[in-house]
Subunit: 180 residues, 2 copies
């Protein structure tokens, strides 16, 4: 039983490792097409967090006997399966980028929550602690992206020549009136 | 200005239409590999909502002069670009399925929020109302999936022969007691 559990935890950790790899690829590209200095700063900050998270996951995998080479193979395998959605389907506007980054954060939140559940059931406290260290940062990143949706939409519009006037807006529902 | 805005809203609506198409494909497959009657019910219920949402979006596109044929072309184009991550990267366990479905719900939440922002700025109240009708349902679906993460993790473990014993677990970390 304990061995079965360990095997499952290793699988979840391998998935998490590959997911962080995809996140690094996505966020690296994101910093280049963010469309706004604040958005760029947001993605860059989370890129640093993501590198830390991948290091935590690798450490945990090494503790459980996984080698660097096996990890690389696993990332390649996952990407080949098409799970690398963030890397080969890179959005082309600040708005779509924010939407995909937001979705990806929630893939991470879900994955670490599931990993935490399995680790908790297996009594693997170190993995539970790792998930508890990572989860609040992922939630915070998702929250930050959500708070910047309007800015991202505005930058997407500006990029195609549709400018927003500062005095536009309908009270109550945040509607901006067009002056045309 | 008004015309530029309309063009952008049509683009966002086309994206939303294609996204709902992907969601329908994903949820249809999800009902088959849910791994649990409650999870299956959850995906099936949201599949019905998703069909409604796609119909709302199509109606709005038709109001704005888009034809059925152009919509189909758009879905194909988007899928070819690799944005159909949910369809060609179908997860193989109840846990991964829940994680991907959760991420996809947040892609939808982000997309409708951005569409709503743009429509609000353009003074397109009908599109704002549509987004306001859809968004709470997407949030509710995401919430329901989140509440079932533990069940999904348990079903994933059971599928590989790891049964949860009632006395296993670490206190204070939200362990569910299995009746087996």
């Amino acid at each position: 039983m304990a061995q079965d559990f360990d095997k499952q935890i290793v699988k979840y950790l391998q998935d998490a490792y590959a997911m962080e790899e995809q996140s690094i690829t996505m966020l690296t590209k994101a910093t280049k097409i963010a469309g706004d200095p604040d958005l760029m700063q947001l993605y860059r900050g989370h890129l640093n967090d993501t590198r830390d998270h991948q290091r935590y996951v690798r450490q945990r995998l090494e503790d459980l006997g996984e080698t660097e080479n096996r990890l690389k193979g696993y990332v390649q395998q996952l990407t080949a399966m098409g799970l690398g959605f963030a890397t080969h389907a890179m959005p082309d506007t600040p708005g779509k980028l924010a939407a995909v980054a937001y979705a990806f954060e929630h893939l991470e939140i879900a994955s670490y929550t599931l990993l935490r559940d399995v680790a908790a059931k297996a009594g693997d406290e170190l993995t539970v602690e790792m998930a508890d260290r990572i989860l609040p940062i992922e939630r915070q990143a998702a929250q930050l992206i959500e708070e910047n949706f309007e800015l991202a939409a505005q930058r997407s519009l500006a990029a195609v020549g549709v400018d927003i006037q500062p005095d536009q807006g309908i009270e109550g529902v945040g509607i901006r009136q067009s002056e045309s």
